[in-house]
C-alpha cells in the first residue's frame, strides 16, 4: 500500500518524452536526496540529507531540502533540485497571498491539498519532485503526508519517506519507529533512521538536517554522519 504512490513515478516520465538522456526513473536520481518525517506525541520531526550532486559528482554538502512555510508547517522536497526550488517558490507565493487574504496561516491539511492541486496542474509535464509535508494542525495535532510527483496524496499516522534513499528509509523507520514518542526520543529515532539509510545510498548523505517541532518551539539540528 505504502509503495503505491512512489512506484508510479518510475514509469511516469516515459510519457513525458522530453528527457532523451534519462531512462525510466533516473530523472529522480539526478541530484540525490533522502527525506523523512515522523509523528511523535504532540510533536513531529522532519529530516533530510544535505548532499547536492550531479549524478556521481558531489557539488554541495549544505543543500537545503526542507523549507518552512510558516512557524508550524514544513515541506521537504526530494527529486530534481531545480524543480524542488521552483516548486518551493511557487508554494511560498501561494501561501503568502493566502495569508494576506484570509489573515491566517494555512492548516497542514489545506496546504497538502494545495500542493496536490499545484502538482496535478502539470500532469502532462510534471515537476520531478516528491514532497513530504509535516505540520501541526488544529489542537496542535501533528500531520504528515507525502505524495508522488503528480499529486497523489498519501497520509500516514507514523512516518513518511521520500528520495533516492527511500527504500532503506522505509526499512529503518519501520523497525525503529514507536508511537507517541516524546520530542527528544523522536529526534534520536529519526536521526538514526536517516543516517543509517543514507549510508546505504551513494547519492544521499554528507550529514543530516533535522527539524523538531512542538507547539512551543522549533529546534533545528545538523547531524554529522559519514561524509561521503
Amino acid at each position: 500500500m505504502r509503495r503505491k504512490a512512489l512506484a508510479f513515478d518510475h514509469f511516469l516520465h516515459l510519457n513525458v518524452g522530453k528527457c532523451s538522456n534519462f531512462g525510466s526513473g533516473v530523472i529522480f536520481e539526478y541530484n540525490g536526496s533522502a527525506l523523512v518525517a515522523m509523528v511523535g506525541k504532540n510533536c513531529f520531526a522532519i529530516a533530510s540529507d544535505r548532499r547536492l550532486g550531479v549524478q556521481l559528482q558531489t557539488i554541495a554538502t549544505d543543500f537545503q531540502k526542507i523549507y518552512r512555510i510558516h512557524h508550524t508547517l514544513f515541506i521537504g522536497l526530494a527529486g530534481l533540485a531545480t524543480d524542488t526550488q521552483t516548486l518551493y517558490q511557487r508554494l511560498v507565493f501561494r501561501h503568502k497571498l493566502y495569508h494576506l487574504r484570509e489573515e491566517r496561516d494555512m492548516k497542514p491539511e489545506t496546504f497538502a491539498s494545495l500542493v496536490s492541486a499545484v502538482l496535478y496542474e502539470k500532469r502532462f509535464g510534471p515537476y520531478f519532485c516528491q514532497p513530504v509535508i509535516a505540520g501541526l494542525g488544529d489542537d496542535d495535532k501533528p500531520f504528515i503526508c507525502t505524495m508522488d510527483s503528480i499529486g497523489a496524496k498519501e497520509l500516514a499516522k507514523d512516518f513518511v519517506v521520500a528520495g533516492t534513499a527511500s527504500e532503506s528509509l522505509y526499512g529503518a523507520c519501520e523497525s525503529m519507529f514507536k508511537p507517541d514518542m516524546e520530542a527528544e526520543e523522536l529526534f534520536e529515532t529519526i536521526s538514526q533512521a536517516l543516517i543509517s539509510s543514507v549510508d546505504r545510498d551513494c547519492l544521499s548523505g554528507w550529514g543530516g538536517h533535522v527539524y523538531l517541532v512542538t507547539p512551543t518551539e522549533v529546534t533545528e539540528r545538523i547531524l554529522k554522519g559519514r561524509m561521503d
Binding site: 487574504r101 484570509e102 494555512m106 492548516k107 491539511e109 489545506t110 491539498s113 494545495l114 492541486a117
Partner: protein
C-alpha cells in the same frame, strides 16, 4: 464587440464624481421588496417579503432565499433574475475554493469574491451593474456573520441590516430592538416584527421567507408551516 457606440463602459464618471449607473442600480434595489438580516450571538437569521404579483402564482415554486454552501445563505432585494446570476457564480466560486483547499470557504472570502464580480460589472464594456443588494448570512470558524453587498461591489459586515422598500423604518426599528446578547430565536422574532412594521396586508407563512443558521452550521430555509409557528409565537 457589438455596436461601437455601446462598447465603452456604461458606468462612466459624472462631473460630480458619481457613477450614475450605480446610483440608479441602488434605486432599483430601494424599490425592491424589503429584506433584512440579524446576527445573533449564536447564529444569523435573514428574512424577506415574498409578495407575488397574483394569487394565481404557485408560491411554493418561488424561493428568494438561497443556499450558497451548506453553511452560507443569501437573500436579495431588487431584481430577482440578477440575483440568480450572482448565486450561480458564488456557488461555483465556493466549490472551486473547496476543490483547491478541501476546506469550506470562509464567509468573508466568498463575500469578497461575490463583491469582486459585482464590481467587474461596473468597470467593463457593454454590461450594466447588477440591480440587487445581497444579504449574506453564514457561520464559520469566526462565528456567525452577516454581510451586505451592494451593486457597486462594496460590502459591509452588519449586526443587523435591512434593504429594499421600507429600509429606513426597518433600520430604525432594528436599532431600537437589537442587543448583542440576542439569541437566534429572539432574532427570528425581531425579524418578523420588523417585517410586520411595513407589511401591507396580512402577514403569513406564505408571503414571507425566513432563513437561519445556528451553531450546527447548517443553513436552512424555513418551510411555510415553520414560519407560521414563529408568527404565532410573535403575536
Amino acid at each position: 464587440m457589438g455596436d461601437s457606440q455601446y462598447s465603452f463602459s456604461l458606468t462612466t464618471f459624472s462631473p460630480s464624481g458619481k457613477l450614475v449607473q450605480i446610483e440608479h442600480a441602488l434605486t432599483a434595489v430601494g424599490s425592491g421588496q424589503t429584506s433584512l438580516g440579524i446576527k445573533a450571538s449564536n447564529g444569523v437569521v435573514i428574512a424577506t417579503e415574498k409578495k407575488l404579483p397574483s394569487i394565481l402564482v404557485d408560491e411554493a415554486s418561488v424561493q428568494k432565499i438561497q443556499t450558497l454552501t451548506p453553511n452560507i445563505g443569501v437573500v436579495y432585494s431588487g431584481m430577482g433574475p440578477d440575483s440568480r446570476v450572482l448565486v450561480r457564480k458564488s456557488r461555483k466560486q465556493a466549490e472551486q475554493y473547496y476543490r483547491l483547499y478541501k476546506e469550506p470557504i470562509p464567509v468573508t472570502q466568498l463575500v469578497r469574491e461575490t463583491a469582486t464580480v459585482m464590481q467587474e460589472f461596473t468597470q467593463s464594456g457593454g454590461v450594466r451593474p447588477f440591480g440587487v443588494s445581497l444579504l449574506v448570512a453564514g457561520y464559520d470558524d469566526k462565528g456567525p456573520q452577516l454581510y451586505q453587498v451592494d451593486p457597486s461591489g462594496s460590502y459591509f459586515s452588519w449586526k443587523a441590516s435591512a434593504m429594499g422598500k421600507n429600509v429606513s423604518n426597518a433600520k430604525t426599528f432594528l436599532e431600537k430592538r437589537y442587543t448583542e446578547e440576542m439569541e437566534l430565536d429572539d432574532a427570528v422574532h425581531t425579524a418578523i416584527l420588523t417585517l410586520k412594521e411595513g407589511f401591507e396586508g396580512q402577514i403569513s407563512g406564505k408571503n414571507i421567507e425566513i432563513g437561519m443558521i445556528g451553531n450546527d452550521r447548517i443553513f436552512k430555509v424555513l418551510s411555510p408551516s415553520e414560519v407560521e409557528d414563529y408568527l404565532q409565537e410573535a403575536e
